[in-house]
Amino acid sequence: MKLEDLFAWFDRTAQHASRSVAQQSARRSFIGRLGSVLVGASVLPLLPVARAASGTARQVSEIGDPQSCEYWRYCALGGTLCTCCGGSTTECPPGAEPSPISWVGTCHNPLDDKDYLISYNDCCGKAVCARCFCHNAERDLPVYNPAKANDILWCFGTESRAYHCTVAVVLGEAKA
C-alpha cells in the first residue's frame, strides 16, 4: 500500500494484546464468536507468547533501527511504524487501542540467523499517524487467506476501526 491508502483506511497492529489480552476472557469470547477456522489460524501463533511470558524464555537479540522499514521484524508489515509515532515495537502510542487479532509473518533475524513468527497488530481508534510508512510483503497472501494477508484493515475487535499505526511483536521461533 502506498501513502494514499494510509490516510484513510489502513489499520494494523497491537501487541501487548497477545501477551496480556491473550489471557482475558473478553478476547477469547470475541474470538469464540467469530468461530472461524481462518481466525483460529491467525490466533494460534499467539500461544508461544503466552508460554514465553510465563516462563524463563530468553529475549531475542536484535540489531537495527526499529524506526526503519528495513528493520528485520518488519518483513511483512504494511502500514506505519508505531515506533515513529510515540509507541514501540510492542506498544501502541498513547490512547491507541491494540487490535487483539493480527496477521502473522515469518522474518529472519540476521543476528542469530533464526526465523521468528511476528504478529503485526494494528493500533486503532485514533487518526492515522502518517509517519514512517512501510510496506513489505514477504510471504504476504491475498485476502482470501486473511491470517497471512497484510492488505487488510486489522482493527478487528477494537472500539473503533480507525487505523493509527502498526506494531511488530515476536511470538516465538519459527521451527520447521
Binding site: M1, K2, L3, E4, D5, L6, F7, A8, W9, F10, D11, L34, G35, S36, V37, L38, V39, S42, G78, I101, G125, K126, A127, H135, A137, E138, R139, D140, L141, P142, V143, Y144, N145, P146, A147, D151, I152, L153, W154, F156, E159, S160, R161, A162
Partner: protein, 370 residues
C-alpha cells in the same frame, strides 16, 4: 484635457459603466452526462475526484466515507452505490455501516440502506458489485471472517448476509450469480434467487496452489468472464457454463528473459482489460518474488487472444493504480505517489496528458459508467 477635467469625466461615467453589467448570481452546477473516458479517482481522505481522461477536465467530487472500498455504478441509471462506514465521533463513537445511493448529476447522497457493520475497508474494486438483475448489490465483508451482504437497491433494503468462509471478493456473472476466489485454489460460484437469497453454490476444480503461486485478489472483468493473474504472472480466464465454473489457461505474462530479469505484475491495482480489443494491461516491476504490492515501473500490454506481449511503456514515475477505458479509442490512466494522473493512448502507447493534483493521495481508479 487637464487632469482635473479627466478625473471629472471618469467619475461622471462610472455609474453608467456599473449599470451596464448584469449582477452575477451564485448557484450550483450539475454534472454533464459522463462518457466512457470519465473516471473516478479514489482519494484516501474520503473523496472520489471525477475527471475526463480525454480532456483532463475535472467534473466534480463525491464525498464518501474513508472506509469505502470502491464505488459501484449502475449501468442504466444515473446512480452510484458506495458501501460506507461512519463513526459518530469520526474515529470513535457508534459505528454505522450503510450502502449510500448517490445521484450522479448532483454527486449527492439521495438514500441510504443500513447493512451489518462488517464491510471490508481497504480499496479493492471487487469488494462491491451489482448483479445482472440490476437489483441486488453485493458488499464484501471481512471481520476477518468472510461474508457477503446482499442489498436490494430497488426496494432499498438489506436482504441477507451470506457466509463465504475462505472465499473473498465478488465477481458478477450471468444469471444472478457471482464468483469468488478461495484459499483452496478454486473459484466459488454462488447464485441468488429473485428475492436475493442464495439458491446455488458450486466450486471449480482446483487450478492454483496458494503455497506455490497464489492468484492475486485483483481480478478484472473480461467479456463474459473474469481474468485472474498469479503472483508469478500466470494468467487464467474464468467463466461459467451452466452451473459449471470453468478456468482455462494458464499462459504466462513472462518470457524466459523476463523471468531472469525478475519481472512481476505488481501494484494495488495493477491490472486492466479492454474487453472489445482483448487487450490486457499490467503494471510490472523487476523486484522479483513477493513484489505483488510494489508499484510498477512499466506498463506491459498483452494480446489476450494470442497470449503474448505486444508492447511496453516505461514510466517516468512508478505507478500503483491502472485503469483502461472501454471505448473504441481506449485510454490508460495510471497514478502513483506523484499524485498525478498520467493518461496514455492505449493503441499508440503514447503519453497523452498529465492531470496534476488528482487528490491528496490518489488511489483506486474506476470508470464512472462501469
Amino acid at each position: 484635457m487637464s487632469r482635473l477635467r479627466l478625473i471629472a469625466l471618469v467619475l461622471a461615467c462610472a455609474p453608467v459603466a456599473q449599470a451596464e453589467i448584469a449582477p452575477e448570481q451564485i448557484g450550483t452546477t450539475t454534472m454533464a452526462t459522463p462518457t466512457e473516458t470519465w473516471l473516478m479517482v479514489r482519494d484516501a481522505v474520503g473523496a472520489a475526484y471525477v475527471f475526463d481522461a480525454a480532456s483532463g477536465d475535472m467534473h466534480g467530487l463525491l464525498s464518501i466515507s474513508r472506509f469505502t472500498p470502491a464505488l459501484q455504478p449502475h449501468p442504466n441509471k444515473p446512480e452510484l452505490y458506495a458501501a460506507e462506514s461512519y463513526y459518530t465521533r469520526t474515529v470513535r463513537g457508534e459505528r454505522t455501516d450503510v450502502v449510500t445511493v448517490y445521484d450522479l448529476p448532483t454527486l449527492s447522497a439521495k438514500a441510504e440502506i443500513e447493512v451489518p457493520n462488517k464491510l471490508a475497508a481497504l480499496p479493492f474494486r471487487q469488494y462491491i458489485a451489482l448483479l445482472d438483475d440490476e437489483r441486488h448489490l453485493l458488499v464484501f465483508n471481512l471481520t476477518p471472517a468472510h461474508s457477503v451482504s446482499v442489498v436490494d437497491i430497488i426496494d432499498r433494503r438489506f436482504v441477507t448476509e451470506i457466509s463465504t468462509p475462505g472465499c473473498a471478493l465478488v465477481m458478477p456473472t450471468a444469471g444472478r450469480g457471482f464468483l469468488q476466489i478461495c484459499g483452496d485454489g478454486r473459484l466459488q460460484l454462488i447464485r441468488l434467487d429473485a428475492s436475493g437469497q442464495e439458491s446455488k453454490r458450486a466450486r471449480s476444480q482446483p487450478f492454483f496452489r496458494i503455497e506455490d503461486d497464489p492468484v492475486a485478489d485483483r481480478p478484472v472483468p473480461a467479456g463474459d468472464g473474469w481474468l485472474l493473474t498469479s503472483y508469478a504472472g500466470q494468467v487464467f480466464q474464468a467463466s461459467v457454463d451452466g452451473e459449471e465454473v470453468r478456468v482455462s489457461g494458464p499462459w504466462s505474462m513472462l518470457t524466459a528473459a523476463d523471468e531472469t530479469g525478475n519481472w512481476r505484475p505488481g501494484g494495488s491495482q495493477f491490472l486492466g482489460y479492454h474487453a472489445g480489443l482483448n487487450l490486457l494491461f499490467a503494471l510490472m516491476n523487476d523486484e522479483g518474488g513477493y513484489s505483488h504490492d510494489s508499484p510498477g515501473s512499466e506498463i506491459w500490454v498483452f494480446d489476450a487472444v494470442a497470449q503474448r506481449r505486444i508492447g511496453r511503456i516505461a514510466l517516468e514515475q512508478p505507478a500503483a493504480y491502472l485503469h483502461v477505458s472501454q471505448n473504441d479509442a481506449p485510454l490508460v490512466a495510471i497514478t502513483g505517489e506523484d499524485r498525478q494522473l498520467h493518461v496514455y493512448d492505449a493503441l499508440s502507447l503514447r503519453h497523452v496528458r498529465t492531470i496534476p493534483e488528482a487528490g491528496t493521495a490518489p488511489g483506486l481508479l474506476q470508470g464512472v459508467l462501469r
